[in-house]
């Protein structure tokens, strides 16, 4: 056959997690933007831009987990038990945030602020601890044999905590640029003003991680700076700068040229670049630094069985996901009739 299913699976999982970062990224970002938009009507509008799609967005997280368990059960077992506390905090955050979508509109007027707070703190908690989990994962997981051998608090270290803030900034930028695309008037203007400092902050975070990563890990340094890799990877930082420039430029329009879709597209490109950079750094490890994708692979029978369905079903899922976004396309206006 000549097809390495472990490679195909790592690409599928990479894709699923990327979809998650993109899609749940902007709706988590909206939760963190709530404190900056105190107006109740604006908050309703913000919520309404994602209410029909957030559930689908979150499903990519479950897909990443289930795919990992199916194709790389060893990695699933080690990573999830190794990142135990950050993941539990993330889950608790997602619980509060997820129900806030429905509860907020069902709460009585005097208790609605509680669900606003649940939405905000849930989004912050989930975003920060996703970043912490990512940082701890990149930092390396202590493994002995086929199981986790580190302590419960290994994630309390400078790099994971920085990654936590980095992911928060990334999601905030996604959320702000999504709202630029989906809203109008004063909310739109407010998000345009917010997007610039967020873009610069994200650029700063990317620069710090890019300098820190090779210093921390000689293997990554070798991979990045040896020939021909350095020539192949050189476009990545260049493209990052191009994306930031494009983003900042697209925020400048006035009148009929008001920023619309372009900032969101540029933010997506920026996050895609950062995410790919990380994947390139750890390849072919799935539990850095110890276990490669082949060592963690489930038997061919499991990988092939799941792959057949995935390759047929995933395109269909992408089609109707797109359709659902299409049905709810366009600007969401603030609603004057709301009681």
């Amino acid at each position: 056959m000549g097809i390495d299913t472990s490679v195909v699976w790592s690409i599928i999982i990479f894709f699923a997690v990327f979809m998650y970062v993109l899609l749940d990224g902007f709706d988590l970002g909206i939760g963190m933007l709530f404190p900056l938009t105190p107006d109740k009507r604006d908050r309703d509008t913000m919520m309404n831009t994602v209410a029909p799609v957030w559930d689908g967005n979150e499903t990519w997280l479950v897909m990443g987990g289930a795919g990992l368990m199916a194709a790389f059960p060893v990695a699933y077992a080690i990573i999830l038990s190794g990142l135990y506390l950050p993941l539990v905090f993330m889950l608790i955050g997602l619980v509060f945030r997820g129900v806030a979508f429905e509860f907020r509109f069902k709460a009585m007027e005097h208790e609605r602020h509680l669900w606003d707070k649940a939405f905000i703190s849930g989004s912050v908690l989930a975003s920060f601890f996703q970043g912490v989990a990512l940082g701890a994962f990149l930092d390396g997981i202590t493994v002995s044999g086929r199981s986790y051998a580190g302590g419960p608090f290994d994630w309390i270290a400078p790099f994971p905590l920085l990654a936590g803030f980095g992911v928060m900034i990334a999601y905030l930028l996604l959320g702000a640029t999504w709202l630029i695309m989906k809203t109008e008037d004063q909310l739109h203007a407010r998000m345009v003003r917010l997007a610039r400092p967020l873009a610069l902050a994200l650029l700063g975070a990317i620069v710090i991680v890019s300098i820190w990563t090779p210093l921390r890990d000689p293997a990554v340094a070798t991979r990045w700076f040896s020939f021909p890799n350095i020539a192949l990877l050189a476009p990545v930082p260049v493209l990052v700068l191009v994306a930031v420039a494009l983003l900042l430029r697209s925020l400048k329009g006035t009148g009929a040229q008001l920023p619309q879709r372009l900032p969101f597209v540029a933010a997506l490109a920026l996050i895609f670049l950062g995410y790919s950079g990380m994947a390139i750094s750890i390849w072919p490890h799935i539990v850095p630094p110890a276990i490669s994708i082949w060592e963690a692979a489930s038997p061919p029978g499991s990988q092939v069985f799941t792959l057949v369905g995935t390759l047929f079903i995933l395109p269909v899922i992408l089609m109707y996901t797109f359709w659902s976004y299409w049905v709810f396309r366009g600007k969401v206006k603030s609603d004057a009739e709301y009681h």
């Binding site: 689908g56 499903t59 199916a70 709460a107 009585m108």
Partner: protein
């Protein structure tokens, strides 16, 4: 911590988060199908009553679905965080089944849920109905994969053990394992019954309050037909499931029956009451019907089933829990059959709408389905102990290498968060149920097609109207249900 080991805490945590989770999918499986039926009835008859009921139950569906999603994400991750040895040992088999659930069910539900909840004015009636059906189908497919995975852990087959982990040999044997068909049918019927009981109770409550509308009558009537048809069917399916358990998990069945040993040639009685005592190896205060156990389980006058003493002590499930959870489930099931039969009798006499004892009974039976599902789930899951993969991997060997400290901490976190979040959610659901079906204006877009009308009529929550304008006022009892 309080004498609990890490294993105990991991089990308590799983049992706690799972028992919350299982209730929401049970309601959404039933409600999604009910909504599809309501919309179909509306498309065929054009009667307003179906639209009103659709939108009434849609809001309740939306809240329940939201709670099911978030508690489900916790379950998806808990298998890895708390049971990493199980994930590593059996992940090559369980992983693909769960991956297929996500691919075929989760995305289907999620993709069409937005259109179902918020697309009433954005897509045409046919397309909207298709979205409702897609969501209903998604809930059923989801149940299918989850029960395939769960049943396989009860009756594993189609695998080999290589290099200290399980490897799939035959996927059709894995999916269609011996207990899967019984478990799947039993669970789906339970979900339908559970929803019918809730819908029926909502109708009965409105009638008891004197709110006699066509929509209220319609929902009570539909629910009672459903209970009448499904409750006896469920008893038959349950009986088959019991025979299957006798064949594949005899220790569980012995615990369900509180049956310890067979004297030569003696028949097995059917115990109605008793207190199984694990230490003394007998069932105290047993009250039973002679020969009935033999008749039901072996279909013969003096047939014997294995007793608990035939299994080593460390291979026995906790008989006290299993014995009683099973009796609670069966007892409630019998009451459901009574409810269905009573409704038929009253319907014949034309008194279904105004017989207060009946309406009160229907109201009190509202949560019976949920309780029966929990009891049934406890029966089957405690009954398989000490195994997590029956006969292959013990629960004690499946747990993650965490200390008791972090597990106690996260357990406390889940308990506080769940009671707050799902307690409030339940209060909101009860408030919405209490409000009753409202008249819904059939606003379809007059100009343009899908997506043309860009301004939603109201904020896009399925809870389009706050519940504080209910006629009981904001100071009603459920309003303070937190």
């Amino acid at each position: 911590m309080f004498g609990f080991s890490a294993l105990d805490l991991a089990r308590i945590q799983f049992a706690f988060t799972m028992s919350f989770h299982i209730l929401f999918p049970a309601i959404t499986i039933g409600l999604a199908s009910y909504l599809a039926v309501l919309e179909l009835c509306w498309l065929r008859t054009g009667r307003q009553v179906f639209v009103d009921l659709y939108h009434y139950w849609l809001k309740i569906f939306a809240v329940t679905f939201g709670m099911g999603v978030v508690s489900g994400i916790v379950m998806a991750y808990q298998i890895g965080t708390n049971w990493s040895t199980l994930s590593e040992y059996a992940g090559s088999i369980l992983g693909p089944l769960l991956a297929y659930e996500v691919l075929t069910a989760f995305f289907l539900e999620a993709g069409f849920l937005g259109v179902m909840l918020f697309g009433w004015t954005r897509v045409g009636p046919g397309l909207h109905f298709a979205a409702t059906c897609a969501v209903a189908l998604g809930t059923l497919i989801s149940a299918t994969w989850i029960l395939a995975a769960n049943s396989w852990m009860h009756t594993p087959q189609g695998y080999a053990i290589e290099n200290g982990r399980m490897v799939p040999l035959d996927w059709s044997a894995i999916v269609f394992n011996p207990s899967f068909p019984y478990r799947l049918v039993h669970m789906v019927l339970a979900a339908y019954l559970c929803t019918a009981l809730i819908v029926g109770a909502a109708g009965a409550w409105q009638l008891l309050r004197g709110r006699d509308h066509p929509a209220v009558r319609k929902m009570l009537s539909m629910a009672m037909w459903m209970i009448l048809a499904v409750a006896p069917l469920q008893a038959v399916v349950g009986d088959f499931h019991g025979l299957n358990t006798l064949k594949h998990q005899p220790a569980k069945l012995a615990a369900m029956e509180g049956h310890w040993e067979n004297a030569p040639g003696a028949a097995v009685p059917l115990l109605l009451f008793g207190v199984p005592d694990m230490a003394q190896e007998r069932t105290r205060y047993a009250i039973g019907i002679p020969h009935a156990g033999s008749l039901i389980l072996t279909h013969s006058w003096a047939g014997q089933i294995p007793g608990l003493k035939e299994f080593p002590r460390e291979g026995r499930p906790n008989a006290l829990i299993v014995f009683w959870s099973f009796r609670i489930m069966v007892g409630l099931g019998l009451l459901m059959i009574v409810l269905g039969a009573w409704s038929l009798w009253l319907r014949r006499k034309g008194r279904l709408w105004n017989t207060r004892p009946f309406l009160r009974f229907a109201l009190w039976m509202g949560p019976a389905g949920l309780v029966a599902i929990l009891a049934g789930w406890i029966t089957t899951e405690v009954g398989r102990q000490p195994w997590v993969v029956y006969g292959v991997l013990r629960t004690a060997d499946a747990v993650s290498p965490h200390g008791a400290g972090p597990l106690a901490f996260t357990l406390a976190l889940f308990v506080v968060a769940y009671f707050f979040v799902f307690g409030t959610g339940t209060a909101y659901v009860l408030r919405m149920i209490r409000k009753g079906p409202q008249h819904v204006d059939l606003q379809r877009p007059t100009e343009g097609g899908p997506g043309e009308q860009r301004t939603p009529m109201r904020p896009m929550s399925a809870a389009d109207v706050g519940t504080d304008d209910g006629d009981d006022g904001p100071a009603g009892p459920a309003a303070q249900g937190r």
